[in-house]
């Protein structure tokens, strides 16, 4: 070390190296893989602490009931039971969670455990902590809870009716939020239309991405400092801290969030702050570490479902040439029993108000109601997925009724590449894209040119062939200012993410991220960006696994959610690395006797003089000088730390609250999926025989990783379209509480899946990249579209539901007239 650090007048010589290849756009092998294929990842339930207690929740068997008595004494008598926590204690020790909704919807009281009343089956009522998982379960069985059942509210379309029972006494008509959205001039569009298509009702069903690792936490409390360390798989610690700090009446420094590997998230792990508060209270009460690992049944019954939504009285003004002018509808969104991230979904759909289309006139009456079902929360494609499915259904139903070609009607109405950046009727700015070209690519993937031939072939085998398209957007890098459009009093706007990059004493380049990846390969793609800027290889870059809010790489919105890492996370990485590169050059210029940093460059782990590449200083020497030999530096360079922190803040502006107008996200990745199905007309059983997914997320940092996200998102939306559904009986019992009844795609269920991509770089982001993980739910649209096409010769039924298991197809085949009653065409 002394040789390299103490010899500024004798620069190290190196051989001339080839220019480092760029790593952005290259399929660099994943840094995460080795530990994960060896079973050496650290997921939350892998964390163990001395004397740790295991927690089991006693949960409500009723959808709606008053709690009249709780007796934990028999549980406490059991050897090995450490203690319990009940709602009364929670109410005494915490404040109810902060509510995003304005009054009266925001007046509801939500605590970590049920207080006085339960509002959905599976709601946690008592927490029991014991020496083993088994014992905690035994003890939970000994807890006695008496209930007085109350009238249940399950139908979102009736929840707001006068006289319906109330879930929350503070919330009249079970209405969490209501608002009107009026963009363009809908009345003029209606007057201008040659035809008006009316659809009485469309329904988007309730499901969830059901990550394979359930939610969980290991929570420790330090009595000396009053600080909790929360090892968890929460995927949005920034949000959890904002929710938990006020509830527990502590500042954020008392809530240390730590995670390493997370077994899938998909948004479903955002709202675990509720259970985490219970864990914090137990850890403090028992003075021991507590483990909560959610059972699969509990995740299905009482975690975070995707929102159910109905679209009523849809009206679509259309010109004779097939140009759609816009739409009008009344939407009712069902958020379940409590509002944990809601009612943000009431505005998030508006990120993609016209979908992929040039619709200028939109009128929406939006109501969100609560019902006695599991609370909803973000789920891959959150709130936009429901809306985009709706726009695609409009297109296919209009095409069917007006006998227009589904490809042509899309191309006629898609926003065009030469119109980008395109301002939508509500002020969102679609940054780039070429939807028609993506559609052409998707058509190629499924062999559309020979579709009629395939149709005949299927018919010869007694099958009905259908072809369908799903066109979606994955809007990313939220402007949290959109929250003020649901509650003008809120003080949230913009977005941020942090990274630090340092060059340390032995020359190691170490990156910390504020994100909580759940499979999105952040370690790999961050290393690619750093390697390109510092002219080293990704293998030279250490990206710390996971997240720790104590790393100084945590900002208010830190986490991994809402399709944004390629913009916010990598924007932060780029910013920090640019700073570090500048500092390395400052050190290099000083040591190598250059007059300015313009005279030096970075190459192959060295900073060297441009005019004499042999005059070079290795990074190791820079790190050692600054950290351990800094007396050699001129005084003016001693502020250099080689430890650079950067907060990426996107160029968002406050939206207009009155008009509900403004750009709600920074990027708009595009997905066009094409699907070919074959339906058995006797049974309704169908098979997806071809499937193509085309994605345009701008510049791809690592194409293989992007493709993996595309495949996964396609699989999830195909699963949701065909089988996955959270069904409730008339008493509010979930009928699909595990992987037996809730059928997710297995290897044999998946159709042949082909992918392609185009790249329309975003003009608004640091790397031209767009967030892209959510995939927009295009498969839900493509399957519905293909089924409607397949059944066109069987009475032309209308597919009006996003959930299309075989029995629903059979019903459409048996009774097409019933679905046709949903649609009317007015010719002007």
């Amino acid at each position: 070390m002394s040789e390299t650090t103490a010899a500024p007048d004798k620069p190290i010589t190196v051989e001339e190296q080839e220019v480092a290849p760029g790593f952005i756009g290259v399929n660099v092998p994943r840094k995460e893989d080795r530990r994960l294929v060896q079973g050496e990842g650290v997921f939350v339930d892998d964390v163990k602490r001395h004397g740790m207690a295991y927690v089991h929740f006693v949960r409500s068997p009723y959808a709606h009931a008053a709690i009249t008595r709780i007796d934990v004494s028999r549980a406490l008598e059991l050897d090995g039971v450490y203690g319990t926590l009940i709602g009364e204690e929670v109410a005494a020790e915490t404040d109810p969670f902060f509510q995003i909704a304005p009054p009266p919807g925001g007046d509801l009281k939500d605590y970590a455990l049920a207080v006085g009343r339960v509002r959905h089956v599976g709601e946690p009522v008592v927490a029991v902590a014991a020496a083993t998982r088994e014992l905690a379960r035994d003890a939970a069985d000994l807890v006695e809870v008496d209930y007085e059942p109350l009238e249940t509210v399950l139908d979102p379309e009736k929840a707001a009716d006068p006289g319906t029972a109330l879930l929350h006494d503070e919330v009249p008509r079970n209405t969490i939020w209501h608002g009107n959205f009026d963009y363009g001039d809908y009345d003029a569009a209606l007057a201008e239309a040659d035809k008006v298509v009316r659809i009485k009702r469309l329904h988007f069903h309730r499901f969830s991405s059901t990550p394979l690792e359930t939610s969980g936490a290991v929570v420790e409390y330090n009595r000396g400092t009053g600080q909790w360390t929360i090892h968890s798989n929460n995927q949005f610690p920034g949000f959890a801290i904002i929710m938990m700090g006020p509830a527990l009446k502590v500042g954020m420094d008392k809530l240390r969030f730590v995670s390493q590997d997370i077994g899938g998230g998909f948004g479903n792990k955002i709202c675990t702050h509720v259970q985490l508060v219970a864990m914090c209270l137990l850890a403090r009460k028992l003075n021991r570490a507590v483990n909560w690992t959610e059972w699969r049944t509990d995740q299905h019954t009482a975690n975070s479902h995707g929102n159910e939504r109905v679209f009523l009285d849809v009206e679509v003004p259309v010109k004779a040439d097939g140009t759609l002018l816009g739409f009008k509808t009344r939407m009712i969104d069902d958020c379940g029993a409590y509002t944990r991230y809601e009612p943000l979904g009431c505005i998030i759909w508006a990120q993609v108000t016209p979908g992929c289309y040039r619709w200028r006139h939109v009128r929406v009456d939006f109501t969100q109601v609560c019902t006695n079902k599991s609370p909803c929360g973000p789920n891959r494609g959150y709130s936009r997925m429901q809306h985009l499915w709706f726009t695609e259904r409009i297109i296919d139903i209009v095409a069917r009724e007006l006998e227009l070609d589904p490809v042509e009607i899309r191309k006629r109405n898609y926003i065009r590449a030469d119109e980008m950046p395109y301002e939508t009727p509500n002020g969102c700015v679609y940054d780039s894209g070429d939807y028609a070209r993506c559609l052409d690519e998707a058509l190629k993937l499924v062999g559309y040119e020979s579709i009629e031939e395939k149709r005949r072939d299927a018919e010869s085998r007694g099958k009905l062939l259908g072809f369908g398209i799903g066109s979606t957007l994955d809007s990313g890098t939220n402007n949290f200012g959109q929250s003020t459009l649901v509650n003008p009093e809120l003080q949230f706007s913009g977005n941020n993410e942090v990274a630090t990059v340092k060059l340390d004493i032995f020359g190691e380049i170490v990156v910390t991220l504020g994100t909580t990846p759940q499979g999105q390969s952040h370690e790999t793609t961050a290393a690619q960006v750093v390697a390109d800027i510092l002219h080293v290889s990704p293998g030279d870059v250490t990206v710390r696994a996971g997240h720790d809010s104590y790393w100084n790489s945590h900002a208010g919105f830190s986490g991994t959610y809402a399709s944004q890492f390629a913009v916010t996370g990598l924007g932060a990485v780029k910013g920090a690395t640019d700073k570090l590169a500048g500092e390395i050059k400052q050190i290099g210029a000083a040591v190598l006797g250059a007059d300015s940093t313009d005279e030096v460059e970075l190459e192959g782990g060295f900073v060297r003089r441009k005019d004499n590449p042999e005059a070079a200083l290795p990074f190791m020497a820079c790190g050692a000088i600054v950290n351990a030999n800094n007396a050699v530096l001129p005084l003016e360079l001693r502020e250099i730390t080689l430890n650079c922190r950067y907060v990426y803040v996107p160029p968002h502006q406050l939206p207009d609250k009155e008009r509900k107008y403004g750009n709600l996200t920074l990027t708009y990745a595009n997905q066009i999926h094409a699907c070919v199905v074959e339906v058995d007309p006797e049974t309704g059983v169908y098979e997806i025989v071809d499937y193509g997914a085309v994605d345009d997320c701008g510049t791809r940092i690592n194409p293989q990783i992007v493709e993996g996200q595309v495949q996964g998102a396609a699989a999830q939306s195909i699963g949701a379209a065909t089988h996955e559904t959270f069904l409730y009986d008339e008493d509010g019992n979930l009928l699909t509480p595990n992987f037996y009844d809730y059928h997710v795609p297995h290897a044999l269920d998946m159709p042949p899946l082909r992918t392609a991509s185009i790249e329309s770089p975003s003009p608004f982001t640091p790397l031209g990249a767009k967030g892209m993980g959510e995939g927009g739910g295009a498969g839900l649209s493509a399957v519905a579209s293909a089924l409607q096409d397949a059944l066109r010769g069987s009475g032309k039924p209308i597919v009006s539901d996003s959930s299309n298991p075989y029995h629903r197809v059979w019903e459409l085949l048996r009774n097409p007239e019933q679905s046709r009653e949903l649609v009317e065409v007015e010719n002007r």
Binding site: R30, E134, Q704, A715, F739
Partner: protein, 160 residues
């Protein structure tokens, strides 16, 4: 119900003999994860559907949440930690990485053990046979496309 008294079991795990007193109701997966600290075997459901806990018991792929630890008494168990010696990677592990057959990595250990069991019994599987072999393993991230390719490539020795 009072907990039942334990039983002493002797199990060979990844080539090492392990003797422990366990509650008779203890699941094999919790024996592996909590008693032996072999946390590479994961739990993804409580109904035997997901396959994240798949291990190999006496040559058979077994969902270790569907077997009691006492039932493994006298058996030989291989977990993900024993798939390759020392820090080496088994061809399947390398293939999973090369073909991007994992994202979050939670299903991966169970998936690899099912694939290992397949290749042990059928060194040249067709795509259909591969899909059938991992039918009991749920992956929520990948859509299985790259997993099937990775297993196929490992079988053919086409892994870099």
């Amino acid at each position: 119900m009072e907990p039942v008294a334990g039983q002493r079991i002797s199990v060979e795990v990844n080539g090492e003999r392990q003797e422990r007193d366990v509650e008779v109701r203890r699941l094999l997966v919790h024996f592996l994860r909590d008693d032996l600290d072999l946390t590479g075997t994961h739990v993804g459901c409580d109904t035997g559907n997901c396959g994240a806990c798949t291990v190999i018991v006496d040559g058979m792929a077994v969902k270790s949440c569907m077997m009691l630890a006492v039932q493994a008494d006298g058996s030989s168990v291989q977990t993900i930690e024993g798939l390759a010696p020392d820090d080496e990677l088994h061809a399947l592990q390398q293939a999973f990485s090369s073909f991007h057959a994992l994202q979050c990595g939670y299903c991966t250990p169970g998936m690899l053990m099912s694939a290992k069991h397949l290749l042990d019994h059928n060194p040249e599987p067709t795509e259909g046979e591969i899909r059938r072999a991992i039918q009991g393993n749920i992956c929520r991230c990948t859509g299985y496309v790259n997993i099937v390719e990775a297993i196929s490539a490992a079988a053919k020795g086409e892994v870099k």
